[in-house]
């Protein structure tokens, strides 16, 4: 039916679905770590199959590295033609490799990290389901399957954010994330209508082939379609102003934050823009919207991270900011750079979250960095990993983040014009990035041990009475930070292996794509982007590349320097600065009041309308109807029915048949 490549891709996709369903059905039978082992095995299988897909695809000649694999008709009617089809090309394969690869490691980590959680089996079922959904998203061969994958990852993300569903803050964060993501889904649905209207197809390859001709006479429809689709991308990738769910999503267990809210799902928007690049290249307006929103987000998130005191939220904001870079890159035509950064970011960000999880494990669930300090000796492995992740995030050579971020900014410089300003903003935010990353490092791992961290240095983990970390509410052991026992990388081999592998990748992955030296990623992706003119315009010349790398290094060093001054050398000095810039601090720690604005403009009016309708309008509709117009009829009929009720059931039957007869009689009379 399909080629080897296609068959392999379907197997990659179906493996995690098999895992999710079998764990779901057997959740009472699987005990101990069995569910984790099954889920992880399935994922490693899926990764191995992905590698096989890669090999099979690479053995094809370059011009035929675009394989579609159909199963059956999904919805073929009324001008819509949707098949259950996958598109396997270098872009989807690289996504597939990143998704299955990083997921495997995070599954491995979670087998140990989550072991004392009551919902261990449920957790792995959801986690496998997420990977399946993500693979549908990146492999789907048409817009409808994209929407299916898009929706499903939103669902899996929801399930995992509110994984500890007895905690009100978790269910609230879950529903918030879900609603914002459904809003984004709707954007893509409506956008797909506009594309379908003129191109007559939702299939990617047909769409790209027809786009230029179909939209030549309707440029505005294309722009509107793409802007609507961007809404979906922004919602999923936590771009301004649809980002407010991401920090709250940290309510989920830490492996979830690492997998979904850092490495994979949140980068879906970047994938989407890259996937639809032939369309975005036909619409300057839509591409510009992407660049502008990405820029706003990357600055905004970096500034918010500076004042955060919750370890996971600092990393969450850094994710938002880094995705801002990627969105800018793929909107500006620097596709290779964007996808390359997506990949390296997946490595170092997953690593950072895993290390954070280990710290939180030792701290007994505490996430407040003000309560930490001096942990580098107590948690040496965790510290090393966190350091590597932070150096990569800060963009210091030769760590992977340096090369990938630099390729983005170098590309913007090369494109010139107003993109130069965007690049300048990008370097500035890079300085902030280095600054807040090292703020976290210094506050968590350096400085003096306090009363609590002293216990960790003595070889104990902290333990507290179970409570909700965000509200302090008392809880039992069945919810919240994983169970009675807490786990750190230092004493758990699976966590160590997962983190070690990612740390290695975070260090060396940059070598794949060094300007004018290696172009593994660029060459690999070439068949997907070969027709793009923009990509060439964003390939930095030697001089630009050198300038960019110089600026990047400088920004990182400067940022680290500032952090060293403020939080290592004179730890108390920030209080003075904070007092001087009180209003700025208030603005930042209140997250620019975006949450409040959305609440005021959207949530409250809807709630208010619902309350008014339920309390007043409905009373009018249901009661006036009785009292007013039909009260007479009701009274007469109620007397009749009461009479009928006293009789036997056979009277009812008689009523039914006689009323039917009455109607028939009526027909005869009218005749």
């Amino acid at each position: 039916m399909t080629s080897t490549v296609g068959t392999l891709a379907w197997l990659v996709l179906l493996a995690p679905l098999f895992g999710a369903i079998s764990i779901g059905l057997l959740f009472k039978q699987l005990s101990g770590r069995a569910a984790g082992a099954l889920a992880t095995t399935v994922l490693f299988t899926s990764f191995a199959l992905s590698v096989a897909t890669l090999v099979a695809l690479q053995s094809e000649p370059e011009e035929s590295r675009q394989v579609t694999a159909n199963l059956w008709d999904y919805a073929v009617t009324a001008g819509l033609d949707v098949k259950l089809s996958l598109l396997v090309d270098p872009l989807s394969v690289i996504m597939m490799l990143v998704v299955t690869g990083v997921s495997s490691l995070i599954h491995l980590y979670a087998t140990a990290y989550m072991v004392s959680d009551e919902g261990y089996n449920r957790f792995f079922s959801y986690l496998n389901l997420f990977v399946f959904s993500m693979l549908v998203l990146v492999l789907g061969g048409n817009l409808v399957l994209l929407i299916v994958g898009w929706g499903l990852v939103g669902m899996a993300s929801y399930l995992l954010i509110s994984f500890w569903y007895r905690r009100k803050t978790a269910t609230k964060a879950g529903i918030k994330a879900f609603l914002i993501n459904v809003f984004g889904d709707v954007g893509i649905v409506l956008g797909s209508f506009l594309l379908l209207r003129h191109a007559g197809t939702v299939d990617y390859l047909e769409l790209f082939a027809k786009a230029e001709g179909a939209f030549a006479a309707h440029p505005h429809d294309l722009t509107w379609g793409l802007v609507l689709i961007l809404l979906g991308a922004f919602a999923k990738s936590a771009q301004f102003p649809l980002h407010t769910w991401l920090p709250d999503a940290m309510e989920g267990p830490t492996p979830v934050s690492a997998l979904i809210h850092a490495a994979t799902m949140v980068t879906a928007g970047v994938y989407l823009i890259a996937r639809l690049h032939p369309l975005f290249e036909l619409s300057d307006v839509a591409a510009t919207v992407g660049v502008v929103i990405g820029t706003i987000t990357l600055v905004m998130a970096a500034t918010m991270a500076i004042v955060q005191t919750d370890l996971k939220r600092i990393i969450a904001y850094s994710t938002m900011s880094q995705i801002g870079y990627m969105v800018v890159a793929v909107s500006a035509g620097a596709y290779t750079a964007g996808i390359f950064h997506l990949m390296t970011h997946a490595f170092f960000k997953a690593l950072l979250f895993m290390a954070a999880g280990s710290v939180i494990g030792a701290m007994g669930g505490v996430q407040d960095i003000d309560r930490m300090g001096g942990l580098r000796k107590a948690l040496p492995f965790t510290f090393a990993c966190f350091m590597i992740g932070s150096l990569a995030l800060a963009g210091l050579p030769p760590f992977s983040g340096f090369f990938s971020k630099d390729e983005i900014l170098g590309g913007l410089l090369e494109r010139g014009d107003w993109y130069t300003i965007i690049a300048a903003i990008g370097y500035l935010a890079a300085l902030l990035t280095a600054c807040y990353s090292f703020r976290a490092i210094y506050k968590v791992f350096y400085g003096d041990l306090n009363e609590e961290t002293q216990q960790i240095a003595d070889g104990h983990h902290l333990h507290f009475a179970p409570a909700n970390p965000s509200t302090g509410e008392a809880e039992d052991y069945e919810v919240g930070f994983p169970g009675k026992e807490h786990h750190t990388a230092e004493e758990n081999l699976p966590m160590k292996v997962a983190m070690g592998t990612l740390a290695f990748l975070a260090v060396v992955a940059g070598l794949l794509q060094i300007p004018h030296v290696t172009h593994v990623v660029g060459d690999f992706l070439h068949p997907t982007f070969h027709a793009s003119e923009l990509l060439e315009q964003t390939e930095a010349s030697t001089s630009t590349a050198l300038l960019g790398m110089g600026l990047g290094t400088l920004a990182a060093l400067l940022g680290i320097g500032i952090a060293t001054q403020l939080w290592l050398k004179k730890p108390g000095s920030t209080a003075g600065i904070q007092a001087k810039l009180q209003s700025l601090h208030t603005l930042l720690s209140n997250k620019y009041y975006v949450d409040e604005a959305i609440d005021l403009i959207i949530v409250r009016p809807f709630r208010w309308a619902g309350a008014v309708f339920e309390r007043h309008t409905e009373r009018l509709v249901t009661q006036t109807a009785v009292v007013g117009g039909s009260s007479g009829v009701v009274r007469i009929a109620s007397a009749l029915v009461r009479a009928a009720q006293t009789g036997s059931v056979r009277i009812y039957a008689a009523v039914v048949s006689s009323s039917t007869a009455a109607i028939l009689l009526y027909a005869l009379v009218v005749r």
């Binding site: 569903y165 009100k168 879900f178 649905v189 409506l190 209207r197 009829v633 039914v656 005749r671």
Partner: protein, 520 residues
């Protein structure tokens, strides 16, 4: 196959009647046999349909009351095949579930359900206007009587809602009856032929637009009340509160769909001018239902009403698809009729299970924390809720996608407003699940709960299996009605397009040229 078609109507009815005669012992057994047999017959009939052809696949036409031109003309075609199958499935699940409660499932109750099933099936397969109207009226009566039984004993007050239901829907039905008679007589006058109620004959001869308008008004009264559409929904909260849950599952799932089907079978082909004239009114009614229904569903604390108002909203989507006059919208409307019914049935079952675990309390603010006490129930609940809110990947999503696509082709603004309802659906469905199953234990929920039993598990497994089929292969549901739905909207649609062209507007785009032919 005409024998099977007759058996489809006769067997469940006969089973119910024999049960009534046979008494308590045999009635349940006969009910199971009757509903199962109907499902088999419906499946056999559905397999006869040729998706490329809109004409009847199985046709039975015999004279009934020749003096007034009423015939017993029934048929299976692309438009009704899937709905007929759906009806038998829903009645089967609902009837089987009723048997769980021997107090409820008396022989008379089962007989009433059987009458209901025969009437609904009759309305779907009717090819004669009077037959349709009769079945449309008849299908309500069993449910009114069942609701009255449920309301009995509490005195006058609780009988009120039942009467409201009766009055509301009978007013609509009687108007429709008059309209049907008027339509046939006026058509006969125009053509000079003897009066006939046969739909095939009526399709050929359309009336003057001014006449069509008042006839449509009467049909609308019946259809919009039955669906119900805001602001004609006043009867439903009371009816939902009084009806026993197994009967409610059937009622909420199926009866509203006959009204939606009536639009495609009767209103659009017979009264195209009037429908085109009032298209905008229908679109606005649909949008009001979607937004209003969703908002009240989001606010109310009664699980039954959450379900009810959400049905109002989802019927709004169905009406939106129909009023697009576009094949995609019509296909979406039919398919959403199927997917909505398939999700309502397990949703009502879950509602019952939740209320059972809270000592009969049906208040959202007193529920919560059931998931921990009943994990299997919770997992099934989750699956149903995801279908309910039309998660991409479910059949419900495909239906909504088609509805919105159809409406987008004629009025993008309406599709945009309707899509607010998509987000609100997620809000009320999740609020329901979180409120009932998650968070901390509610006041009405005892500390030690029991998980779901084997019988309910089986019923839910069947329902979820049906949802899985429409999720994985929506084409199975879409294919049979492909040509028939296009044919149903054709007269109104071509009229609408020619008016638009005459108005100098841009033509309705996005539909391939070959769709625009009619074989009629």
């Amino acid at each position: 196959m005409t024998g099977v078609l007759i058996a489809l109507l006769a067997v469940p009815l006969a089973a119910g009647f024999l049960g009534l005669l046979g008494g308590k012992r045999v009635a349940p057994l006969l009910a199971v046999l009757g509903t199962t047999a109907a499902m088999v017959f419906a499946l056999l009939l559905a397999l006869e349909v040729n998706p490329g052809d809109h004409t009847a696949a199985v046709d039975l036409n015999s004279t009934w009351i020749p003096s007034i031109g009423v015939s017993f003309h029934i048929a299976i075609d692309g438009l009704n095949a899937v709905l007929v199958l759906l009806t038998t499935f829903v009645f089967a699940i609902g009837t089987w579930w009723s048997l769980r409660d021997p107090e409820l499932a008396t022989p008379s109750y089962l007989f009433l359900l059987a009458i209901g099933e025969a009437a609904v099936l009759g309305a779907f397969v009717a090819q004669d206007l009077i037959l349709f109207v009769l079945c449309f009226d008849l299908m309500l009566l069993p449910f009114v009587l069942i609701a009255a039984r449920g309301a009995g004993g509490d005195g006058e007050f609780s009988i009120g809602p039942v009467l409201l239901l009766l009055v509301y829907t009978l007013v609509g039905s009687l108007l429709m009856f008059v309209a049907a008679v008027g339509l046939a007589i006026l058509t006969a006058k125009n053509t000079g032929q003897p009066v006939t109620f046969d739909l095939a004959a009526l399709y050929g001869a359309t009336l003057a637009p001014s006449t069509q308008r008042w006839i449509l008004l009467a049909f609308l009264a019946a259809f919009l009340i039955k669906m119900p559409v805001v602001p004609f929904h006043g009867w439903f909260p009371g009816a939902y509160r009084t009806m026993p849950l197994p009967a409610l599952a059937i009622f909420a799932a199926i009866l509203s769909k006959v009204a939606a089907y009536g639009f495609l079978k009767i209103a659009l082909p017979l009264l195209p001018d009037a429908v085109v004239d009032w298209r905008l009114v229908l679109v606005i009614l649909a949008l009001v239902s979607i937004i209003y229904g969703s908002l009240v569903a989001f606010t109310t604390n009664e699980p039954r009403l959450i379900l009810g108002y959400s049905s109002v909203a989802q019927l709004g989507f169905i009406l939106l698809g129909i009023s697009s006059l576009d094949p995609a919208g019509a296909q979406g409307a039919i398919f959403q009729s199927v997917t909505h019914a398939l999700v309502v049935v397990p949703a009502v079952i879950l509602l019952a299970l939740v209320s059972e675990r809270a000592g009969g309390v049906e208040r959202l603010d007193q529920l919560g924390g059931i998931a921990k006490r009943a994990p299997v129930l919770s997992a099934l609940f989750l699956v149903v809720v995801l279908c309910w809110l039309a998660m991409p990947g479910t059949g419900n999503f495909v239906a909504e996608y088609l509805v919105l696509l159809g409406q987008w082709r004629v009025a993008p603004w309406a599709a945009i407003i309707a899509s607010i309802g998509v987000v609100l659906a997620a809000a009320y469905a999740l609020r329901f699940m979180i409120g009932a199953m998650q968070n901390l234990r509610g006041a009405a929920v005892p500390e030690h709960g029991v998980d779901i039993g084997g019988f309910e598990r089986g019923l839910l497994a069947l329902s979820i299996a049906a949802l899985a089929v429409v999720a994985l292969v929506p084409q199975l549901g879409l294919r049979p009605s492909d040509a028939a739905s296009r044919n149903a909207v054709y007269p109104a649609r071509s009229l609408y397009e020619s008016q638009k062209k005459a108005g100098g507007d841009e033509a309705v785009a996005g539909v391939p040229a070959e769709d625009q032919e009619s074989t009629r």
